[in-house]
């Protein structure tokens, strides 16, 4: 699995999904091409999936939001007759490295939350029409929908058979959505998750696993009418023009990956990637129409797409670069002006979409298992939206003043309205709220300084950065800190950061990424699942797995 994994795709290249449109209802149809796995050595039978299938799903969900303002409801369904979706492909899992399994689950989870984000925040509500079996990851996918319909044909069912069949968890959010979203009674959930055969018909409704069972005779009409009901409630415009998500330009040259507003420099020897984000050059558009005309060139949208791609590219393709350094270059006031423009036009569907896309991209940063360091230097523009990177970082180090012989502005951090509500983390708090859980008075003080270019002393006093160094010490201190960080055990850093980044309240999202994922990662290391005689290896072989019977 050493090929480059590319997250860029588009509907004309899809092998596994189809989109169909009927007025303000879209159909997102899963029809996996068994022969088109991302890697060699397995067939994606029965609508089972691998990372490649999910890359297309992520793209489709994104395009529905940006390219189809008219769509108010999306029906998730299968293009195959007797199966909805058989879940993650077992042979793929059996052959994957630990790291690939974990990254695959993380991306799949992010995509599932993006579906729920569309339902909740975009006026584009997902329904799911289950015909055939929805097993394991198939039911996990179904349960991302706000409304699940199950055909009552005596054979279609929903199930989470991972534990009995594979000795792993329904770990791509399934277990948590069963308890937190569907609120299934815990003992019934226990029965549901320990039986292979699943639940169908009225029992599936009684156990809260689906919302409605529908007889075959009225299946098509009923699904259509439910979709129409949900679509009718949407606030999305019926007559607006979408923004075409044209292919993202990315140049890889040696150890530098270049986009239009993002540059990534790889230093394999130091196990470090430096991500530099460039602030807006063009002025804020004069109107929403002008912004829309810019399309994917509009700075906030462009930067969201590029940063999003850079994060995924690095996560999957550069696992040894354990340290990400965030830098910015440009004019902080220009960032704040774009933030203000977005904020002032949140009643416009596209501006709202862009804000939520930025929010999701910043959430990807939060759950990335890399040490994140922000370096605030002269000439940088950590303001508003970009200042979120300072607050998302495990540490932020700030240069005190300007560099000798450098005529760029002294290092500054600027907070703006965007830092006080636009970008909640998975825990439903802003990054500043999370940061100042123990000192809410500092949050109030920071809010009073919006729009100011805060120098190192002020930013440090306000608790916005971790350390401040003068020019004399900067190079040595930063070098030592980065070298030290890169010397630690990657696993313990992953655990530490996953715990420290999410103080405060928990949500379904933090429970999926923090609790369920941690248990699944543990199980993904245990011989009972992944050993030579473990269930993932023996599945389908006709040979029973052998288990170490010690309870830990």
């Amino acid at each position: 699995m050493s090929q480059i994994i590319d997250f860029r795709t588009s509907p004309e290249r899809y092998r596994h999904w189809r989109l169909a449109f009927e007025g303000n209802v879209a159909h997102l149809i899963m029809d996996v091409d068994a022969s088109a796995g991302l890697f060699e050595g397995y067939e994606l039978k029965l609508n089972s999936y691998d990372l490649g299938v999910d890359i297309e799903l992520n793209d489709a969900v994104q395009r529905l939001r940006f390219e189809h303002p008219e769509v108010g409801a999306v029906v998730l369904r299968s293009g195959k007759e007797n199966v909805f979706c058989a879940g993650a492909n077992i042979r793929m899992l059996g052959k994957s490295t630990h790291g690939h399994k974990v990254n695959f689950c993380k991306f799949t989870n992010e995509t599932r939350f993006s579906i729920e984000d569309a339902s909740e925040n975009s006026g584009q509500v997902y329904l799911c029409a289950v015909k055939g079996t929805a097993a394991g990851g198939g039911y996990e996918l179904a349960v991302t929908a706000e409304y699940i319909m199950l055909i009552d044909d005596r054979k279609s069912s929903v199930s989470l058979p991972e534990l009995p069949l594979l000795a792993v968890l329904p770990g791509t959010g399934g277990l948590t959505r069963v308890t937190d979203k569907r609120k299934v009674r815990r003992d019934l959930a226990d029965v549901f998750c320990t039986q292979e055969e699943g639940v169908r018909g009225k029992k599936a409704v009684a156990w809260r696993l689906v919302d409605e069972v529908i007889p075959p005779s009225v299946w098509v009409e009923k699904v259509a009418s439910r979709a129409a009901e949900f679509a009718a409630r949407s606030d999305r415009p019926r007559d607006a023009k979408g923004v075409k998500l044209t292919p993202l330009k990315r140049e890889v040259s040696g150890d530098v990956v270049t986009y239009s507003h993002v540059k990534v420099e790889l230093d394999r020897q130091k196990r470090r990637a430096t991500l530099t984000i460039f602030g807006p050059v063009a002025a804020v558009p004069g109107s929403v129409a002008a912004a829309q005309d810019l399309g994917v060139e509009f700075w906030p949208l462009a930067v969201a797409r590029e940063l999003d791609d850079a994060i995924l590219f690095l996560r999957l393709n550069e696992p040894e670069l354990g340290l990400w350094v965030f830098k910015t270059e440009g004019d902080g006031h220009a960032v704040l002006a774009h933030d203000a423009f977005l904020a002032a036009n949140q009643n416009h569907w596209l501006m709202r979409e862009i804000s939520h896309f930025l929010k999701r991209t910043l959430k990807r940063v939060d759950v990335t298992s890399r040490s994140l360091i922000a370096l605030v230097e002269p000439g940088s523009c950590f303001a508003g939206t970009l200042a979120e990177l300072v607050f998302a970082a495990d540490r932020a180090i700030m240069f005190n003043g300007a560099r000798a012989g450098d005529n760029r502005a002294p290092a500054a951090v600027m907070v703006g309205a965007a830092n006080f509500g636009a970008y909640p983390m998975g825990n439903a708090l802003t990054r500043l709220e999370t940061r100042f859980l123990g000192e809410p008075e500092t949050l109030v003080k920071a809010a009073a300084r919006q729009g100011e270019a805060l120098d190192a002393e002020a930013a440090s006093e306000l608790g916005l950065v971790t350390s401040v160094f003068d020019e004399t010490d900067w190079n040595d201190e930063v070098r030592i800190m980065l070298e030290e960080r890169a010397s630690f055990s990657p696993d313990s850093l992953t655990g530490l950061e996953a715990n420290l980044r999410f103080a405060g309240p928990e949500t379904m999202e933090t429970r999926v990424f923090g609790r369920l994922t941690a248990w699944q990662n543990w199980i993904f290391q245990r011989p009972n699942a992944v050993g030579e005689d473990g269930a993932l290896k023996k599945y389908g072989s006709g040979v029973q797995p052998t288990y170490d019977r010690h309870r830990v």
Copy 2:
């Protein structure tokens, strides 16, 4: 490590702790005997600890509550001059099995929460006086106190050096208490947890790591006066007589472990332990004084002690018995009568203690990594406090009616007031509230049926049990279910149960047992920590560990 681990001890047998009393202040003094490790092969230098040290601590905390009603404040401190506590012993960890490490951390965490429970609910508030270094588990212990004093002698410090030194987490609650209890700013927590040297003096206060630094010249007086202040606020009686926790009688004979009100039957072939709890035989005492005269013979206290010991005994000594079956025998009305007696006398220090002890024992059940099945049969007394075992179980199976030829009462479940508030789980909800998160109306219905002997039909209708079987099917259905459960992978069951048992809100406690523990367990499986070249193995050898640099 195949000797039997016994949790029963008493102060005259302590090797590692001393208790000293000054009026209403107790001193709990850690003075570890380096040569008295629980196992061979390591020395407990510098007040480092192993499970044996923690068994004594658990006992001491318990005795302070029951035997010393006059104590309103407890000062945790070291009996050694230059060190407060160096944390868990590294050589012990390096030599332990995965299972022992996990069980050790769990018990240590439970003991730490019992300290906080005393502060919060018993009017026996813990302070910590740190003189010398409090490193790793040493600081984790300190931070269980409500008030931490640090001597300002230029050498005493607090630190969490696990990550840089050992490639593991401060996983016995430390990391979570830093964010959730002390509310340390996340980037400062990151610095604190990645440096070996720790923090001392005023910086420790500024970072919220301790509450007060005290100059050496006034150290003794100031610690004493703070303890006196806290003790003065206590509502515990100064002149009451404590209850002596006499040695617990436990007989092990073949595969049966017998206490006075609890019997444990081990079936190694079926990998199952059956715990039978016997209801009260004696009538409810006529007064609190009479109950106090019964001392450890008073049924609620006796059953709490015995069940608590049985849980710990099975957890540590019988890891292959992955299935615990709970049964009861006796008169449900008698259980409810004892519950009512306790509830009516919660203003009495001892009755309050007993209720909290029962609460903590039931919490041990919740975090036990065994599949828990309650069998509600004719003659059982799953009522009130004992009905909590039905609600704590992963599944409860109920016999419909009476057995032919058996003149005992038909199987019944009885809810009482104790099920609606006396025993919150770690998530701060009752077990019934957690169970009915998705159907709060059922909770109301169940509350209306208090005191009734609910037969199988009624209990099933109310969602109190999972399945009901008639006599014809009982034996086969129960056998098949238990055999099936015992056939699954133990690890995946542990992960499943840890996720399903704690639906709803999260607290510091659920985050320690669910999130932090899961990450630590994962790290405890990773070669970077536990491999031959990992940090836990290489610590102290002078050889640097070798890390796989892939980020997962």
